[in-house]
Subunit: 181 residues, 2 copies
DNA sequence: GCATGCATGTAAGGAGTTACATGATTCA
DNA sequence: TGAATCATGTAACTCCTTACATGCATGC
């Protein structure tokens, strides 16, 4: 079967118990969003489609007068999740405006390139902070994979921040024009 | 001024001399595409818009009967490029299907998680190979920034591949269920 | 003569974000 | 009572990719 990218995040988020759209969204925001985001504009229409395809099942579960629909995987949905997890990953995409600016920095002063690197570094440091905050969540998960991924994210952002720091020094020490000579 | 993301790649690619759309596309494919891609479907319409906005200027430059239009930055275009380069970067996006699969791997066997990591590792190793092939291009550039970015890309993909290797060992050594205990 | 590369473009569609609209509940 | 949180959903829009269409030039 060939589902939309977002469909798999949803199936995955339902892997150990029912959840409503709102909870799926916040689970994503507190975990996968650093490498796989999803917005309400995708989630709700996708829940409907998955439901129609028989991969998930919704059950009304109002809290008082506030309505709420809880979705859970069907057998078919669990099968589809497993078969996707066993296929090799295809998508790896990076979109880094900082690197793009750095790439073109021959058109500006070395100080400007250094400022770009500084901004990049600060961004990655901030992500590290945020990930450390989330760590307790991941620790509480049913299996160890979310924690493994989270710790990977911390190391990854630290590596990136360190790279930025090194390059900042390089760029200020020997401006690019000299280095290329 | 507020231009589309693709607009800046184009302005940047014109930073040291005129180029036609086809050349911009192949320059992107041989350099920035690993962190900032662009397709013909974006490039040609954007060239028109930038031209209408007075940031670039097209000059017909047919090669025999094969038509060709060469674009170069106007003074305004060069100004806009510089002002963008001096603003801090905003976009950093990662979309990694492998990490997503790994995150949900509690639903499959440890061997499946290891297979995902192996595929990820192979991908990053292959990118390293490809980047090494491109290295001579970057070395030839007018300033040192493209080379700095390229070498960063090599280190980055090597780091990722190594991380995958480490995690592959971890996952096989102590399955996730135990680790979380 | 044919494949590959050079060169320009468009149409259709998929994917995703933002902003909006609506309304209940909870807690300070 | 008012802010934050829970909860569902849609409309408009941007961005981007893929596939197609066209045709000349070059080199084997």
């Amino acid at each position: 079967m060939d589902l939309s990218p977002t469909a798999y995040v949803i199936l995955g988020m339902l892997r150990d118990g029912p959840r409503c759209g709102y909870e799926i969204k916040s689970a994503v925001d507190n975990s996968t969003r650093f490498f796989w985001a999803a917005s309400y504009g995708q989630i709700y229409p996708e829940l409907r489609k998955l439901s129609e395809a028989g991969l998930i099942e919704g059950r009304p579960d109002a809290r008082g007068d506030r309505k709420r629909v809880e979705f859970k995987l069907t057998a078919a949905g669990r099968g589809e999740l497993g078969s996707w997890l066993r296929r090799p990953p295809e998508t790896f995409e990076l979109r880094d405006e900082g690197l793009l600016k750095l790439f073109f920095s021959g058109a500006v002063e070395p100080e400007d390139a250094a400022a770009t690197l500084r901004a990049m570094r600060e961004h990655h440091r901030a992500v590290v902070e945020r990930l450390r905050e989330i760590e307790p969540n991941a620790t509480a998960a049913g299996d160890g994979y979310p924690l493994l991924v989270l710790r990977g994210g911390i190391e990854y952002n630290e590596w990136l921040a360190d790279w930025c720091e090194r390059m900042e020094r390089d760029v200020l020490a020997e401006p690019a024009e000299e280095r290329s000579a």
